[in-house]
C-alpha cells in the first residue's frame, strides 16, 4: 500500500502545528475521498451501517449521468439541426463536449473553491454536497449560457444560498435552482426566449421549446410529439429534455432508496390534477394542452426527480412530503398555464415550496404535539 504509506507520511504536516495546517480540511477531503477512515465508533451503538453521506451523494451523481450523456449529444444535435447540416455521431458528441465541458469546469472550480475556503475558515470537513449541486447546475442551464454568468450564479448560489446558512444540510432553498433563478431574474434575455436553448443557433431556425410555444399562444398541434419529448430531441435546458435518461436515473435513485417516492408520486398527482382541471375549463390554447403533455414538457420530470426530492430543502416529515410534492406539481402547472410572464413554472414552484417546507413540517408536527398534550390533559383529568 504505497499510497497509504505516502498519505500517512505527509499527514502530520496538515495537522495542527504542521507546516500546512491551514489546508487541513482540504487534505482531509482528499484523504477521505481515497480511503474510508479507520475511525471506530466510540459512543452509542458499536456498529454502523456501511452507507455514508459520500455514497448517498455520489449515487445522485451516478443517477444524473444518463442526463449528462444525452444532454451532451443533444447540444450537438440541436446545433447541427438548426444549421441544417448533416453531422456524424462523433461530430455531434464532439461539439456537445466542447460546449458542456466548460460549463462543468466553471461550475466545479468556482463552487469547490468557495466550499474549500469556507471549510478551512470554519475548521470543518469539506462536505460532499457540492458534487451534486455542481453536477446539477450545468444540466439546468441553457446550452448557450455565457460562462461568466454561470460563474457569478454559482458563486451567488453557494455563498448566499448555502454557506451563509451554515453549509450543507442547513440551506433553505436548493442551491442549484437558486443559481438558475438568479440568472433568470438578473439576465432574463439570456435565460428565456427562443434563442438561448440551442448552442450557436442559426438565426433562421425557430428554436422554441414546447413551453415557449405555449406561452406564445401556440396550440397543441404545434408542439413536438410526446415521443419526441420523451426521447428528448427537442431544445431545452441541457439535462431536462430526455425523459428516458431522466427515468433511468430516477429508477436508480428509487431502487437505492435515496429519493423519496412520496414526493415523486405526489408531485405527479398534483400536476395531473391541476392539468385535468385546466383541460376541463379549456378557456384558451394553454389550458387545452392535454394534462399528460405537461409531464413531458420543460423541467417537470427533471425537477421532480432530482430537485424536489433534495432531502435538505424538501419537507422532512412523511405527511409533509405528500403535501409538499403535491403543491410543487400543482403550482408548476398553474404557473405554466395561468401566468403569462414565465414559460416554466417548475423552478419557481420548487423554490416556493422549499421556502414553505418548514411551515408544512411545523403544521404536521404540531398535530402530533396537540395529540400528545390532549393525552396529558386526559390523564390529568382521570387522575383527579
Amino acid at each position: 500500500m504505497g499510497l497509504r504509506n505516502y498519505i500517512d507520511k505527509i499527514k502530520p504536516d496538515f495537522e495542527e502545528g504542521g507546516r500546512y495546517a491551514k489546508f487541513h480540511s482540504t487534505f482531509e477531503a482528499f484523504e477521505t475521498f481515497l480511503y474510508t477512515p479507520n475511525k471506530v465508533v466510540n459512543t452509542g451503538a458499536h456498529i454502523r451501517d456501511a452507507v455514508d453521506m459520500k455514497r448517498n451523494m455520489f449515487y445522485v451523481v451516478i443517477a444524473l449521468i444518463p442526463c449528462f450523456l444525452f444532454g451532451t449529444w443533444n447540444i450537438g444535435y440541436q446545433h447541427f439541426l438548426s444549421w441544417g447540416q448533416d453531422a456524424t455521431f462523433w461530430q455531434i458528441v464532439g461539439y456537445g463536449l466542447l460546449r458542456i465541458i466548460p460549463l462543468y469546469l466553471v461550475s466545479y472550480i468556482v463552487g469547490l473553491v468557495i466550499e474549500f475556503v469556507f471549510a478551512e475558515i470554519r475548521h470543518e470537513e469539506v462536505n460532499e454536497g457540492y458534487f451534486v449541486t455542481g453536477f446539477l447546475i450545468p444540466l439546468i442551464m441553457p446550452a448557450d449560457v455565457p460562462l461568466w454568468m454561470l460563474a457569478v450564479a454559482v458563486a451567488f448560489a453557494v455563498i448566499i444560498g448555502k454557506e451563509v446558512f451554515g453549509g450543507s444540510g442547513m440551506n433553505v432553498v436548493n442551491p442549484a435552482l437558486l443559481a438558475r433563478a438568479f440568472l433568470f431574474f438578473s439576465y432574463p434575455s439570456k435565460m428565456t426566449g427562443d434563442n438561448v436553448w440551442i448552442a450557436e443557433k442559426a438565426d433562421a431556425f425557430s428554436g422554441a421549446t414546447p413551453l415557449g410555444t405555449i406561452l406564445n399562444g401556440g396550440t397543441t398541434e404545434q408542439l413536438p410529439s410526446i415521443m419526441e419529448m420523451f426521447v428528448g430531441t427537442i431544445p431545452g435546458s441541457v439535462g431536462e429534455t430526455s425523459k428516458i435518461a431522466i427515468l433511468i436515473g430516477a429508477l436508480f435513485l428509487i431502487i437505492t432508496g435515496i429519493s423519496d417516492l412520496r414526493i415523486i408520486v405526489s408531485s405527479f398527482a398534483g400536476a395531473i390534477v391541476i392539468g385535468l382541471i385546466f383541460n376541463g375549463i379549456g378557456a384558451n390554447a394553454a389550458m387545452e394542452v392535454p394534462f399528460y403533455y405537461h409531464l413531458f414538457m420543460g423541467g417537470f420530470m427533471f425537477g421532480t426527480f432530482f430537485m424536489a426530492t433534495d432531502p435538505v430543502t424538501a419537507a422532512q416529515t412523511n405527511t409533509g412530503k405528500w403535501i409538499y410534492g403535491f403543491l410543487i406539481g400543482a403550482i408548476a402547472i398553474l404557473i405554466r398555464v395561468a401566468n403569462p410572464g414565465y414559460p416554466e413554472g417548475m423552478m419557481l414552484a420548487i423554490l416556493l415550496l422549499n421556502v414553505f417546507a418548514p411551515l408544512i413540517d411545523w403544521c404536521v408536527v404540531a398535530a402530533n404535539v396537540r395529540k400528545r398534550k390532549n393525552r396529558w390533559a386526559a390523564a390529568e383529568r382521570s387522575a383527579k
Partner: protein, 477 residues
Amino acid sequence: MLLVSKFAVCFRATYMIEYQLNFKKKIMSTVIKIKKGLDIHLAGEAKKETEVFEVRRCAIKPSDFIGVIPKLHVAEGDAVQAGSVLFHDKSRENILFTSPISGTVKAVVRGEKRAVMQVIVEADGRDEAIDFGKADISTIKRDEVIDKMLHSGVWTMLRQRPYSIIANPNDKPKCIVVSMFSSAPLAPSTGYIIENQVEAFNAGVEILSKLTDGKLYLNLKASCKRCHDVIAKITKPENVVVTDFEGPHPVGNVGTQINALSPINKGEVVWYCGPQEVITIGKLFLTGRYDSSRIIALTGSEANDPHYYKVNIGADIEALAAGGVNFRAISGDVLTGKDITGNYFLGFYDTQITVIPEGNEYRLFGWLAPNFKRFTSTNTMISSLFKKKTFVIDTNRNGDVRPLIMTGKFEKVFPFDIYPMQLLKACIIKDIEQMEELGIYEVDAEDFALCEVIDPSKTAIQQIIRDGLELVRKEMN
C-alpha cells in the same frame, strides 16, 4: 355401526374442547404487532448450553447507574458478604449498592476528580450472604417489600421511565413493565434462562405486583414457547397483564412496549426491570439472601465458543471475552452495550457479552466499493440483496460525521408516535419545552439505537438523546 358413531361423537367433543381452549387462550393474551424496526442478523449466536463460570472478582461501577454519585461505605481490605453495602447514592441516601459476592474489597478505582469508577470485590469462595430474613410472599405489605429491597440493594434493579434512573421508592408508578425478551442482535433467550427458575420468578412477580396500584405487565415474545410455558405455570395476581409482542427490534425494548400499552404522560412514572431481576427479587423474599447470579450469553463473531454462562453481577469475565486479536468486548448488545475491552467487568444490568472485530482499518474507496459483505439497511450495495444473511460487523464508523441530511430513514426503524428527527434536533438545541412536546418522556437513548446505526451522517444520536434526558431531569428536579 354404533361403535363408529360413538367414536365420531367422542372425536367431535374432543375437537370442540380444544377449539374452545384455543379460543380462550387468544382472549387471555393479546398480541401487539410492531411493524417498524430492523433485525440485524449478527454472526455468533450463543449455543443453548450453560456452564458455571468461576467468578474470581466482581466490580460495581457507579457509571452503570444514571445520575448516581457514590458515597463509599467500605475501604480497601474490608471483608464483605453478598448484600454488604459498598456505597450509597449521595442524592438519595436510601438507595444502597451492595456487594454481589462475599470476599474482600480489593480496590476502589478512582478516575478524574477522584470520582469512584468501580469498587472491586475479590471472591473468597465462601459464598456467605447477609440474612435479610425470609418473608411470607402472600401476606407481606408494600412498605415491607420496599424496605427489604432497599436494605439488600436489590432495589437498584428497578428502574423508571423516563430517564432510566433507579426507581424512587416514594413514587407511585403508573404501572410496572417487565419485558420478557430482548430483540437486540444475538440477545439471550429468556425462555431458556428462566425455565428452571420458575419458583423464584413466580415469587418475584407476586412481589412486583404489590409495588403498584396499576398493572404489572409481563410482555412476551409471541413466538417464545418456553416463556409461555413458564407464564402458564406461575400464579398470576389480579393486576398482572400478559401481552404478546411480535415484530422486529426494538419490539423487545421496554420503551417500545410502554408506548404500545400506555404511553407515558408528563409527570407519570413507569417502573421496569428484566426477567432475571424478577428472579433475584423473588429469591430475596424466598431465601432472605441477595443472590446476584446471572445467566449470561457470550456472543459475537469473535467470541470463543459462544454459549451461556452462569456468573454474578459485575463479574470479571476477561477469561470469556478476551483472547482474540483486534476485537472489542461489549457488555450488553452491540446497539446499547458498553465497551469493556481492557476492563472486563460485566455491567450491572447486562445479561450478554458481545465480542466483535475492531474495525480500525482504512479501506480504499470504501464509500464507492460494491460491498459484498458489509452490513447495510439500505439498498445501496450488493450486500443489500442478502438482508436475511448473518453478517460479521466490525466497529468501523464507515464514514465521517456529516450534518443530518437524509430524511425519512429514522421513521422506518422507530416504532413510536414521535417524530425522531425533530426530537433529536430539539435535544441538540437544548430546548426543553420542545423536547417535552415532542415526546422526550416516552423515549430513552436505547430507543434511538437503530436510528444511530442506520444514520448515514454518523451522528452520535444516543448520546444526544441521553444528554437531552439528563438536561430535562436536572431541570425538573
